[in-house]
């Protein structure tokens, strides 16, 4: 019953990861609180004070994304410590702490995925059902955020990613949980590894991009309604609309080719081998196609007068909705009619 042990350990690791994300979320909320405090104390740049734009260095300040937060937080800890208001320094420390906690959670999360794979007899990739798909794609979201965080300032994303992962992991545990079993015949193919993994990566990246697009819409709406943002609000800490849009674009530009590869190249190759047709308008295929078309529209809209900005962001969110509907909805609503109804 060794396998059961690994499965139980995997579940514990998942719970630990969710708890970790929760702690990280709390830390980031505390960080937010101290930033509100800082915002009340007049500083030169009340809105973006702190990790992001506190350190101004000439031309680069135009594009905060190329500067590592490491550099800027060094500035905060080092030379800047005297000059920065204490609340800002505290907020930066809390932010770094939050990131570390997220790293710990992500490591536990990774352990959960690996153990899940080891628990199966024979050992297999952990992408055989919806629970495992969700477990892995939330890991991609967390790791994607953490890796981007090493290179650029995405402190605004921290509460969103942690919050999303808690909710999604809990939902997966409660609604989608499936005990470890061996793979069905239909899934015994090397294409499982390639096709599903690519789909998971794309899902994670689209989700990250969607978070930026959602914040874009919120921020623009709020700014429009109030004629400006209170420096105390969370949305004021979110970067400029232009940067949000650029972040969203980069995430989508990464995810779209991966999705093309998953849904339109490896999917058909496998379908040809398993079902004798490379494209059969199975509900899952239909929705994968819809998702692809909507994201193609997003990339076009972003470059079209009258569609830039908010309209493009809305299209991105529609794309995300079709993506998740395809994953969850199809299995629940059309389960019996789809050849993809695994789990």
């Amino acid at each position: 019953m060794n396998n059961n042990l690994q499965e139980i350990l995997s579940n514990w690791a998942t719970m630990a990861a969710a708890a970790g994300y929760f702690v990280a979320l709390l830390v980031h909320l505390a960080e937010w609180a101290s930033r509100r405090e800082a915002a009340v104390t007049p500083t030169e740049q009340p809105v973006l004070a702190g990790v992001g734009a506190a350190a101004t260095d000439g031309a680069d300040a135009v594009d905060g994304e190329t500067r590592g937060p490491r550099g800027s937080s060094d500035a905060v800890d080092g030379s800047g410590a005297d000059t920065l208001p204490p609340a800002v320094a505290k907020a930066s420390r809390l932010f770094r702490l939050g990131v570390r906690v997220t790293w710990v959670a992500a490591v536990a999360h990774l352990a959960a995925v690996v153990l899940r794979s080891l628990a199966a007899e024979p050992v297999r990739v952990p992408w055989g059902n919806m629970y495992e798909f969700t477990l892995t794609s939330t890991l991609v979201v967390a790791l994607g955020y953490l890796l981007v965080e090493r290179r650029s300032d995405v402190s605004w994303l921290a509460p969103v990613v942690n919050g999303f992962n808690i909710i999604t992991l809990m939902a997966a545990m409660l609604l989608l949980y499936t005990p470890v079993t061996d793979l069905q015949d239909a899934l015994r193919s090397p294409w499982l590894v390639i096709h599903v993994f690519a789909a998971i990566i794309a899902t994670g990246a689209f989700t990250l991009g969607g978070m930026a697009s959602a914040l874009y819409i919120l921020k623009e709406n709020r700014a429009e309604k109030l004629g400006g943002l209170s420096p105390r609000s969370y949305l004021a800490r979110v970067p400029s609309l232009e940067r949000l849009d650029r972040f969203a674009y980069r995430a989508h530009a990464f995810a779209f080719p991966v999705w093309t590869f998953a849904a339109l190249i490896t999917g058909p190759i496998w379908a040809q081998a398993a079902w004798g047709r490379y494209w059969g308008w199975d509900p899952k295929e239909v929705w994968a196609f819809i998702t692809w078309v909507v994201y193609a529209a997003y990339l076009h809209a972003r470059a079209t007068a009258g569609w830039k900005g908010k309209a493009a962001a809305i299209i991105a969110l529609i794309g995300l909705a079709t993506l998740w509907f395809n994953f969850v909805g199809i299995n629940f609503f059309f389960g019996s009619g789809s050849q993809h109804s695994y789990a």
């Binding site: 015994r188 339109l264 081998a273 196609f289 076009h300 809209a301 972003r302 007068a305």
Partner: protein, 537 residues
């Protein structure tokens, strides 16, 4: 088309136009025929129309995932038709049972493709010109560009220029020189990243390639399904298929003249653990001939491992039970004997089927009901099957007598009973009769209608036989599309300008750059170029 976005600093003449986005689409409709045509073309090829068509395409795909499709699962379609008598003709008229062949779906993607061509052609022309054009001259005031560096190097002009050129390897360069000796000025214009637009064009052309591949495949290919009970044979002719989806240009003569027999079917049902009851490793042994006079060959086929015969593939896509029943008349004469296919309804292999006995006398007989591989019964659940394995097989049927309606010429599904001319067979107490048959058991029907026996249980395999010509064209197309996509998303077209001014023994170097991709930033490149120029040798 993924156009380079925002402000672009690109001179208007060079900007590739996807139709005319701004203004033109809103212009009032002109009246002259040629103008009208031109206006219509602009409307169609404008980016707004393309976006609209993309959304329409996405929306139009949805019904095909909700309503059962002829091309996907014809059995479900016919069942659906029976259940929805009023809606079915309306759906039929709207083409909702074959969305992806319907007029309206085709109209959308054909318009989209025309719009695509209307985008590719002018842009190719623009790109062709841009490829041969020289990088634009150095702007007079470089410091006005976003990314600007100015350095002084203690070298003569030629040496400094060599360094700048080194740093700009891979760029297309244009040089101009002016000024008198001792105060010469050299200007370098450099550009790279031409492949971005090439990628963009490749992506869009590839979509057309994919479409051609898919079109050829669906015109000349075919896909058919057949259920074969183990021990039975199949010859590749039209009449042997249960359902067939031939392409419009596919002809019956194109069917390869092979035949095969399903020798046996093997399945392991997991006995313990969590997957208990699930079918694993199912495979069928096929004995086949490529043509009537060729050698007999044998192969085992499994899921993911089809049998390939001369360009035609035979796939094992499902399996199930075919109870063998014998029906005798009251006098004992056999009126029917043979396997009857019962289609699995879920993963427990509770299966549904219909037995029609047109030769029964005095009345035709019909049976409809469930097959339970391992029968069990509780008051709460009613009958159910414990395992998908046939450990205690039971047929539980309702019995009908009368006219099966087979003689009036209208085609009937073998999986449904037309009950207009039939009456439930009643027991002596007047209640409807239910026939429950365990293995080897016989039930006698009242009123001298006869007997029915469950002799044994055979298995059937569901095979898909298909030919997808030109699938490699579609694969090539989509792979090229991915390649083009990567180019159009990740290649950064950029320009760098350098102005070198000779002053005494020194050279002043001014560098500036422009990243023409969305939200790009050349700061790092310029920094490294500046380092390279300044670096001590």
């Amino acid at each position: 088309m993924i156009r380079r976005s925002k402000k672009n600093d690109v001179p208007a003449a060079e900007t590739p136009r996807y139709g005319l986005d701004d203004g033109a689409a809103d212009a009032p409709m002109p009246l002259a025929p040629l103008e009208l045509l031109r206006w219509a073309w602009r409307q169609l090829t404008s980016m707004r129309t393309a976006l609209l068509l993309l959304f329409l395409l996405a929306l139009a795909s949805i019904p095909g995932s909700v309503v059962p499709q002829e091309g996907v699962d014809p059995i479900r379609v016919s069942r659906w038709r029976e259940q929805h008598e009023t809606l079915a003709p309306i759906y039929e008229r709207l083409g909702l049972f074959s969305v992806y062949d319907s007029v309206w779906f085709s109209a959308i993607y054909i318009l989209l493709m025309i719009s695509l061509v209307g985008c590719i052609l002018p842009r190719t022309k623009v790109y062709w010109r841009a490829l041969r054009a020289k990088p634009p001259a150095v702007p007079r005031r470089l410091e006005r560009l976003g990314d600007y560096r100015r350095l002084e190097v203690a070298e003569d002009l030629a040496a400094a220029e060599a360094r700048v050129r080194d740093g700009l390897s891979g760029y297309r360069l244009v040089r101009s020189e002016s000024g008198p000796a001792g105060a010469r000025v050299v200007e370098l214009s450099a550009e790279k990243g031409y492949l971005r637009e090439a990628g963009n064009l490749l992506f869009h052309v590839s979509i057309l390639i994919v479409l051609v591949g898919v079109a050829v495949g669906s015109l000349f290919g075919f896909r058919g399904g057949v259920i074969v009970v183990t021990g039975n044979s199949f010859a590749n002719t039209l009449s042997q298929y249960d359902d067939l989806n031939p392409g419009s240009l596919f002809e019956a003569d194109d069917l390869a003249p092979f035949s095969f027999t399903v020798k046996d079917f093997d399945v392991t049902f997991v006995r313990e653990g969590r997957s208990a009851g699930q079918a694993r490793n199912f495979s069928a042994e096929i004995e086949y001939r490529e043509s009537p006079d060729s050698e007999l060959e044998t192969e085992r086929i499994r899921v993911n491992h089809p049998l390939k015969i001369n360009g035609t593939d035979v796939f094992l896509i499902g399996h199930g039970y075919a109870p063998v029943v014998t029906v005798r008349s009251a006098t004992g004469a056999v009126v029917f004997t043979g396997p009857v296919v019962f289609l699995p309804e879920d993963s427990t292999f509770r299966s549904f089927g219909v037995i029609k006995i047109p030769d029964a006398a005095p009345q035709q007989l019909g049976f409809e009901g469930e097959f339970y591989p391992t029968y069990a019964f509780t008051m709460e659940t009613g009958p159910f099957t414990v395992l998908p394995d046939a450990k205690n097989p039971v047929l539980s049927l309702t019995a009908w007598a009368g006219d099966l309606g087979l003689d009036d010429g209208t085609p009937q599904s073998v999986y449904s009973l037309r009950k207009e001319g039939l009456d439930r067979i009643l027991k002596a107490d007047g209640k409807p009769m239910r026939v429950d048959l365990a293995l080897g058991k016989t039930v006698t029907l009242p009123d001298q209608l006869g007997t029915i026996t469950l002799d044994r249980v055979d298995r059937f395999v569901k095979l898909q036989i298909s030919k997808s010509p030109a699938s490699w064209v579609a694969l090539l197309g989509v792979s090229l599309a991915l390649l083009g996509l990567l180019g159009s998303l990740f290649i950064r077209p950029r320009r760098v300008w350098a102005r070198l001014r000779e002053e005494d023994e020194q050279t002043t170097v001014e560098l500036a750059g422009l990243d023409r991709s969305a939200g790009g930033n050349l700061a790092e490149e310029l920094d490294s170029l500046a380092r390279q120029v300044e670096e001590k040798r």
